[in-house]
């Protein structure tokens, strides 16, 4: 045991770890928001509710059909992604030609419905979810204790983020997506089904949120309100990073999680607000965000 800046290493690295975990969720969620915004020009206010649905699907799978964490990791994003696709076909597609703000209002309304229904059946308190057997326990690194599950969350979300970045920036499919973001009419003229691509993109973004929800289930409790306050922080993360870049969303997400964790060690009172303060400073210096293109 040693000390850094008068803080025991356990506490410092412990908070750093929590920061990285939160950062993983910020990154996954802001990545999904950025992908959705790129294609649909809609800020998906339902994102927090869909994250919560992911965690609940995992919980219900375990409770009712005994499907474990690994099944949930595959099934929950697919199930929640499908609800996203239905939602896009039923509601969102009618709004593309309208002002952006209607998309925000509609998705906000849907978030209220989803969270209200879940609260009605499960109350506001959390339901516990076991860490999968394979990832229980942890290891002592000398300067801190690292629970296996938390290491898994960080590594796995990094892998998901990087793969998403790779698909969008480096593959043919991704090039279609980026082209359709720039000029949908022209891309359609080349014979690519842009409306279907939009629908699938929304489903994918929502699936990412649900995946984050499944990973969060063993760490935080599964509760109907787990996404509603998180989404506001993720909005701030998105504003800081700027909407233009996928990598920007990932880097900002992890970085802000770490900064938040360090603030908890050195100045705990400010840990709730530090991200918003950073947002205000970034807006003063670069109104379009750190990685964003000027609007």
């Amino acid at each position: 045991m040693f000390e850094i800046f008068g803080i025991p290493s356990q506490a410092l690295f412990g908070q750093l770890l929590i920061g990285l975990i939160n950062g993983s969720f910020y990154a996954l969620l802001s990545l999904g928001l950025a992908v959705i915004f790129g294609m649909l020009n809609i800020i998906n206010f339902t994102h927090g509710a869909q994250y919560m649905m992911g965690a609940f699907v995992a919980y219900l799978l375990l409770q009712h059909i005994g499907a474990n964490y690994w099944w949930a990791l595959i099934l929950a994003p697919i199930a929640v992604g499908l609800t996203g696709i239905v939602m896009e076909r039923l509601f969102l597609q009618h709004l593309y030609k309208l002002d952006h703000l209607y998309g925000l209002l509609l998705t906000f309304g849907i978030a209220l419905i989803i969270e209200g229904v879940f609260r009605n059946y499960y109350g506001s308190s959390g339901q516990p979810y076991q860490v999968p057997a394979l990832l229980q326990g942890g290891r002592n690194l000398g300067f801190m204790f690292l629970p296996n599950y938390r290491a898994w969350v960080i590594v796995f979300s990094l892998v998901v983020c990087i793969s998403t970045w790779f698909v969008i920036e480096r593959t043919r499919l991704g090039s279609y997506l980026r082209a359709a973001t720039e000029n949908p009419a022209l891309v359609r003229a080349f014979g690519i089904n842009v409306p279907r691509m939009i629908t699938l993109t929304y489903g994918f973004g929502v699936g990412l949120a649900a995946l984050a929800g499944v990973m969060a289930a063993p760490i935080y409790n599964v509760s109907p309100l787990m996404g509603s306050d998180l989404i506001v922080v993720v909005f701030a993360v998105v504003v800081i990073g700027g909407m233009g870049s996928i990598m920007g969303a990932i880097v900002t997400g992890f970085a802000l999680g770490v900064i938040e964790g360090l603030t908890k060690v050195f100045f705990p009172e400010a840990s709730n607000t530090v991200i918003f303060v950073i947002m205000a400073i970034v807006l003063l210096i670069r109104p379009s965000g750190l990685f964003g293109r000027a609007a």
């Binding site: 309304g109 229904v117 506001v232 205000a280 003063l284 609007a295």
Partner: protein, 321 residues
């Protein structure tokens, strides 16, 4: 070189009779209402109506969606409650103090937020409001989860005892009508015409020589200040300032009220506030379903009734409301 004509201000719409008539009808209804309806309910609805009107000034006439208006409403409530309870200020001074704080917060947030457009604007106002929510949660004077309770209503101008429900009601009504008329005047002033020009086509307004960011900032501060009046008054009426009023769900609620009533209509926010407050009142026994119903109303309004109740009515009768 001077402009030959001011293209925004010269084209004046014909004087409309429908708005003054509707105003007289509304005032008459509010004067007789306490004989039929529980005054505390009316006061609550009036405070929210003013809040929604203030919010509508921004979204309806400048086209800026602020998703953090609870910040001004709630913080004005805290300051007014604190001033009335701890400092023992009379109610009018307490409300004015709360209003000034709301205006100051509006100036800071507005200066940051108007640098961004559209959807970013909404996210930034929401995030900054959430930051101030956490301050409210942690600051010692707000009482955290308990809020500031048992705020004395006091004596208005040291004469009228506001503990009397009828006196309180007519005070709230007077505040509401004064602010409503102020908003009406602003919307129909040359300043208001410039705001509408910015809403319709900001680059064009800039090319005509208007410093649009100053106009937007002034509108933002005005909107925040009036939201502060509503929040301060509500704190005195209910003798309570709590976290509910600064939480983002309150920001969502005022959006809903304005949307239901009709964005960019003069009377819409008032109608919307009454609809939503009565809905919450009568559906309170259904618990969580109120949130679900609010969500359904949101979705329905966005998909089917984007003009809102008053907007649809005005469109049907071909008048301005």
């Amino acid at each position: 070189m001077d402009r030959v004509a001011d293209p925004v201000a010269v084209v004046r719409p014909a004087v409309s009779w429908s708005e003054p008539v509707a105003f007289v009808v509304m005032t008459a209804l509010f004067v007789v209402a306490p004989a039929f309806v529980y005054p505390v309910f009316l006061m609550k609805a009036l405070c929210f109506a003013l809040f929604a009107c203030a919010f509508n000034l921004l979204i309806g006439y400048v086209g800026l969606l602020s998703f953090g208006h609870a910040l001004y409403f709630g913080w004005a409530g805290y300051v007014s409650a604190h001033a009335a309870k701890v400092w023992g200020l009379p109610p009018e001074a307490a409300i004015i103090l709360g209003t000034m704080v709301a205006g100051g917060l509006g100036l800071v947030v507005g200066a940051l937020a108007i640098r961004s457009q559209g959807i970013y604007f909404a996210m930034i106002t929401l995030a900054l409001a959430q930051m101030m929510y956490f301050f409210a949660l942690q600051a010692p004077f707000t009482g955290g989860e308990d809020g500031i309770q048992a705020v004395p209503r006091g004596k208005l101008f040291a004469v009228f005892d506001l503990a009397d429900q009828t006196t309180m009601y007519f005070f709230v009504l007077a505040v509401f009508l004064a602010c409503f008329l102020l908003i009406y005047r602003v919307i129909h002033s040359p300043f208001g015409e410039v705001l509408k020009a910015i809403r319709e086509n900001e680059p064009r307004a800039i090319s005509l020589g208007y410093k649009t960011s100053r106009y937007k900032l002034l509108a933002f501060v005005l909107s925040a200040t009036l939201a502060g009046v509503a929040g301060g008054t509500k704190a005195i009426v209910f003798q309570l300032a709590s976290l509910t009023d600064v939480h983002w769900s309150m920001s969502g609620e005022v959006v809903l009220m304005t949307l239901v009533g009709g964005l960019g209509t003069v009377f819409g926010p008032v109608a919307g506030a009454f609809v939503i407050v009565s809905m919450e009142n009568y559906l309170a026994q259904f618990g969580q379903w109120v949130t679900v119903i609010q969500g359904v109303v949101f979705v329905t309004c966005v998909l089917l009734f984007r003009r809102g109740v008053v907007g649809e009515l005005a469109n049907l009768l071909k008048i301005r409301l």
